[in-house]
Amino acid sequence: MTRREGPGDAFDDRIHLTAVDEFLAWGKEHSLFYLLFATACCGIELMQAGGPRYDVDRLGMIPRATPRQADLMIVAGTITHKMASRVRTLWEQMGEPRWVVSMGSCANSGGPFSKWSYSVLNGIDKYVPVDVYVPGCPPRPEALIDGVMALRERVRRYRTLGERSTEPHVVAGHEAPFGARCQLPPPDAPAGDGGRA
């Protein structure tokens, strides 16, 4: 499908393409299946978020065990060097469009282990592009939902048919004032023996 370029194109504003795109984005926004991927403490809070009290199913989010069917990877917990390439593999196995939420200090920056640990990766953003960082150690489930709401803002602007948006990263549950495109690290991650398998 071709699309006319140019910011001031009145055709763009009216034609169904945008409307359809908007509709598709609406669908994506309300149906963010997340990958059941929990490594550490934050994983428990992720479970609690899926539990009766916070119930992310309410927002159309259900956990999927396989990355193929997931739209959202919530990196919940510490990622060690040994694990990091697996995270990358999992992320690669997810189908586009895909999003990543980094949950908690460990995934954001290594958190408590950033200073003295010899085995912890200092921030998962070295391996996968992160859309939303949720601070906390671990974040309350509500904080996670707050981050997810910020992500949904971002999903809303995702264009399936038109030009892909170049949105900045989101910081701390809210969008960074300024940002560049997310830059992927070089895919040097060793394949290992099957991240998920």
């Binding site: 059941l36 991927f37 929990a38 490594t39 550490a40 403490c41 994983g43 428990i44 809070e45 479970m47 609690q48 539990g51 009766p52 009290r53 065990a65 917990g77 510490t78 060690t80 040994k82 694990m83 697996r86 999992l90 408590p112 282990f113 200073k115 003295w116 640990s117 010899y118 085995s119 912890v120 150690c137 671990p138 309350r140 023996d193 099957g194 991240g195 998920r196 398998a197």
Partner: protein, 395 residues
Amino acid sequence: MTVEASTPAGERMTLNMGPHHPATHGVLRIVVESDGEVVARCTPDHGYLHRSIEKIGECVEWPMFVPYTDRIDYVCAMNANLAYCVAVERLLASDPATTVVVPRRAECIRVLVAELNRISSHLIAVGAMAMDVGAYTPFLHGIAQREAVNDIFEKLCGQRLTYNYVTIGGVAFDLHDGAVAEIAAFLDQFEREMQRFNRLVTTNTIFRDRCAGLAVVDAAQAIAWGLVGPNLRGSGVDFDLRRDESYGIYGELDVRVPKGEAFAGRHGRQGDAYDRYVVRLLEIQESVRLCRAVLQLLPPAADKPADPLGGHQAEVSKILRKVPKGAVHVRTEAPRGEMGYWIVSDGGKVPFRVRCRTGSFTAAGMFQHVMRGIFLADVVAVIGSFDVVVPEIDR
């Protein structure tokens, strides 16, 4: 109940279970050599969550390690805090000059929060086991009950999971207003809810048949393999550190120790997965009883509400600048069994070596022994029945 794998070793299928697998409780990886549905051999692979906490223990000061103990076992952070703090207090007690006396109220609060956290930890354990076996609802009901405990803890110390509440020499805060009534009310409704939980899953025949006779560990094996806590008791060994090596005020409490008795009747054997599961449920009941008993024992708060616990925190932190030289090994009963701290001090403000021995580590060591000749579907049930928490294995 074991099944023989008939395919020769070279022709078996190798399955990588994890590190991302929905039922491996985090990032445990088990390489399963399977003959169709039958597991011929399995090799656990650990370290995906090795966060070098023991090294950190050698780098940060004595009180600064307490938040890290939270992360050794986040499912029962109170017990993990308690284990470390009791060990350090025992070390300090080796020199009369540095001895720290924990106020009685703080001791009571410690036992109270430890038992509450044992409840919430076992809820995850039994719920996760039910989920691994395919019943999703009980898990969420367990989570719902856990929320109530979390609420209590959050009011008490401000966090839901990593509490950093028990400190060396006491606890960080006194009980919040109305805590006693709140906890009592929670315990009452919790007992009722647990009965429904048990009716829903524990006595369910499908569930029972899946766990009965599975991964049987007899008492001698359990001891030799270093199983501890509910896993050990599930095998019929009558041993509980709270009763047999009591610390804090556990000595004053009448701790009753449930042990495995082939609860599945003619379907199972002593020391099978079902026994381990039921022992946890019985321990939940026991913890409820202990909480009630502690609430009875709780001495009134000190006069100064801001400084309720003897007001010696400043003094303790001064003492912790120079901890007597020596080594100490103290073990406490965490929900996943013995949490033993081996601490070496060189006389400074930073520990020389902090070693934490956890229940999950030895339980994981047992995997390759018990996961032989079982069905693939049982692998997750076995993991669930040993209730391993990955950071406890990897630390």
